[in-house]
Amino acid sequence: MTWFQKCNPFVSLIYFIAVTTLAAVYNNPYHTAVTLICTVIMFIMCGGKRKTALGFFVIFILTFIVNPIISKKGATPLLFIGNDPITLEAIVYGLNSASLIAAILFLFRCFTEMTDSEKLMYLLSPFSATAALTVSAVLRFTPLYVRQAEQIAEQQTALGAQGGKSIPEKIKHGGRVFSALSTWALENGIVTADSMACRGYGTGRRSFYTAYGFKKSDGLFLTFELILIVSTVVPSLFSSCTFGYYPGIVIPELNALFLLSASSYALLVLLPLIFEITDRIKWKYLLQKI
């Protein structure tokens, strides 16, 4: 996903917000399926790890199973466990929500994969340079925290002080390690704050320079994106796209408006992939020319 990674962050932010919001609002197996397939492809193209995907799959399965077991709504019981019915509707609903959650998780993963702190700061800076800075500081501190926690744990092991064998003692020890970590973090925070003050933080209005150019292709993407968002949302205002789950499944009417909205949504979700592929082809030809 090199193209998407290198595009203007605002363009990609709008995409992520639009896709997640729309998928959640429609809550419709069709939209969910399109989103899930697309985000999985994007996840793979982002170089997502198999381990992460496996984790998401576990979450998917759990959500899928839990709903039919807990939910007793629905008109079509398929089987009974004891006195509790497992209904078709609950299964469909569970499948849909599980897929939706998985799709959003994949999408978020892609988003974090593509967005580094610089981009986040760039996105935040028009609203608040301070917020932008906070994000950067948090991102910097997280790996430091993890490392220090490991170091404390290791040092405590070497001291033979993992706490006693009983659970209360272990909890007590864990608490002390945590408090040591917090103290360390606060100490560090002071040094960082000093260093910030030294370099004029808070003396006046902050500016922010990191620039992401706005290329022609960014403009193109943004235009398509906005058009597709409009053509997804507007038709659905006039025709119901809502998928009914309970008590019985109600499939929205397949009229022209619904089809327009649904296909626009599909195109919207696919947009980065389309741009990516076009970009790859373009580069291939460019390389040939070079």
Binding site: R140, I152, D194, G200, Y209
Partner: protein, 515 residues
């Protein structure tokens, strides 16, 4: 032209009884390189913090401190930020951004420079320091030395007239420290920026120093060019902070001019005769054996230990040298059972390390002190770590520290307290990872004494360090680590004599006669 003047400057921290600085007077000219030294707690940092008003602690100030003829307190925040740059001890913590580029821009962003000015300054500094290639790199990925250079570079972006540095090299290895100081000296020479650096190891600094300032208990006991200070019969305390050529000159008094650098020292001491050395005959049983040990952090990562062999005998003090990132720490962690090797054999006291179960390895057998001594302390007071122990009976009396918070004591004291805590389980084999990193000369002396105290009791030490002078004083044997293996292991004397880089200044000056 004076850039900074102090007249009878005194400072007492809020709630403190004793003043941290008492009637200090000096003046620094534009473009001078000023080295402030003195033992830990002498007021070096306090002085620097008074010059930088953003960092000035709460307390009572008296006397005058003028920057460019104006009291520091009257400088606007902006002026202070722009004109006075600052670099502190800990490279890790003073970096704000997670990207090198962001860090360099930080000062310019805070001061709201125009885009053109900001880019121009950053581009200039970044090219000068060679950060161009690292511009998009994440800051945690830089080495300690590069981090510290980044801190210096980002302080220079606002074109300060004065740079304050508080022990910037105390946490760096010697190679990185030398790089840092030479860069600093170059900036001082080329751009004329005034430098005030507090440091207790002056060996790298003395040749660049225009004014040497020595503080002791908050009092200015010496101030002048290094020659002036050294010709005025310096006290023992001043000398202990001085580099090896100076110390040796005052020990042996060969007459003539005091050498300030190793090069000058070579001319004076090259004819010194070698001391008689007793041959040490030790035939103790091995307590630690590593055979063909391989280690890597991740399955798909690169090997850190590549078939390492090591044998350490009982009662030995073994030092391990090697460049940064050569795997010294990993070696210690593997040998201490804190990291698991994937191939080879590690045995401790004739028993495979994997055969020790339920943490019995760490009871009366093995212990380790990792680089960051704060990781030892999980209580609010140092004394709480030593429950039921007679503090004054320890080889290093920590009772004065007992009631204090681990972060409120000096680096050297903390390290000593951590060391004592590690020894509390009466381990017979102890691994120390750079134990003297934040110590000044006096603290090092205490450390060596304590180490010998335990050695007498039969404890074996394996120490990863960069400090060749420390090794010369206390190590039995030294090993050189390179590319995941121990390349050579021999007697300390032979080791230091045979090396050109990993050796002591004394050895360098005398051509190996003394180490």
């Amino acid at each position: 032209m004076e850039i900074l003047t102090a007249k009878n400057l005194s400072f007492t921290y809020a709630k403190a009884e004793k003043p941290s600085l008492s009637s200090v007077s000096f003046s620094v000219d534009r473009g001078q390189f000023v080295t402030v030294c003195g033992p830990t707690g002498c007021g070096k940092s306090t002085l620097l913090r008074l010059i930088k008003k953003e960092l000035t602690p709460k307390g009572e100030i008296s006397g005058e401190l003028l920057y460019d003829g104006k009291p520091i307190s009257e400088l606007s925040e902006r002026q202070s930020a722009e004109k006075i740059g600052c670099v502190v001890q800990r490279p890790e913590e003073q970096i704000v951004s997670d990207r090198v580029g962001g860090e360099l821009f930080f000062g310019a962003e805070s001061l709201g420079y125009t885009r053109e000015t900001a880019y121009r300054r950053v581009a200039e500094v970044s090219s000068f320091f060679g950060f161009d290639l690292d511009f998009d790199k994440k800051t945690p990925e830089l080495s300690g030395g590069r981090k510290q250079l980044l801190a210096l570079a980002s302080a220079l972006v606002t074109s300060p007239e004065l740079i304050l540095l508080d022990e910037p090299t105390s946490r760096l290895d010697p190679v990185a420290a030398a790089d840092f100081i030479s860069m600093l000296a170059r900036i001082n020479k080329e751009t004329g920026v005034t430098v005030i650096i507090a440091e207790h190891n002056t060996s790298l600094l003395l040749e660049h120093t225009d004014r040497l300032m020595f503080l002791e208990d908050g009092k200015l006991t010496a101030f002048g060019s290094p020659r002036e200070v050294l010709e005025s019969k310096p006290s023992y305390k001043v000398l202990s902070d001085m580099p090896a050529p100076v110390r040796m000159f005052f020990e042996r008094e060969p007459g003539g001019k005091c050498p300030l650098t190793v090069k000058e020292g070579r001319a004076v001491f090259s004819g010194v005769e070698a001391e008689n050395r007793e041959e040490k005959e030790r035939k103790d049983k091995p307590v630690l054996e590593l055979k063909n040990v391989f280690f890597r952090h991740k399955r798909d990562g690169a090997d850190v230990l590549k078939g390492l062999d090591m044998t350490v005998n009982g009662g030995e003090i073994r030092f391990i040298f090697g460049g940064n990132g050569c795997g010294k720490t990993t070696l210690l962690r593997c040998a201490a059972g804190l990291a698991r090797h994937y191939s080879g054999k590690v045995s401790v006291f004739d028993k495979k390390i994997t055969d020790y179960k339920n943490g019995e390895l760490y009871i009366n057998n093995v212990s380790m002190l990792c680089q960051d001594a704060t990781a030892v302390f999980t209580h609010e007071r140092i004394g709480d770590e030593f429950k039921g122990v007679d503090l004054s009976a320890l080889p290093y009396d920590i009772s004065p520290l007992a009631g204090r918070h681990p972060y409120d004591v000096s680096g050297g004291e903390l390290q000593m307290a951590a060391f004592c805590r590690v020894m509390l389980n009466s381990p017979r084999l102890v691994f120390l990872d750079e134990p003297t990193k934040a110590m000044d000369a006096a603290a090092k002396k205490i450390f060596i004494d304590t180490l010998f105290e335990y050695k007498k009791k039969g404890v074996t030490f394996v120490v990863a360090s960069h400090d060749t002078e420390l090794a010369a004083e206390c190590a039995d044997n030294c090993s050189m680590m390179f590319d995941g293996r121990l390349i050579c292991t021999c007697d300390t004397y032979e080791f230091l004599r045979g090396n050109r880089f990993y050796t002591t200044d004394k050895c360098r000056m005398t051509g190996g006669a003394l180490v």
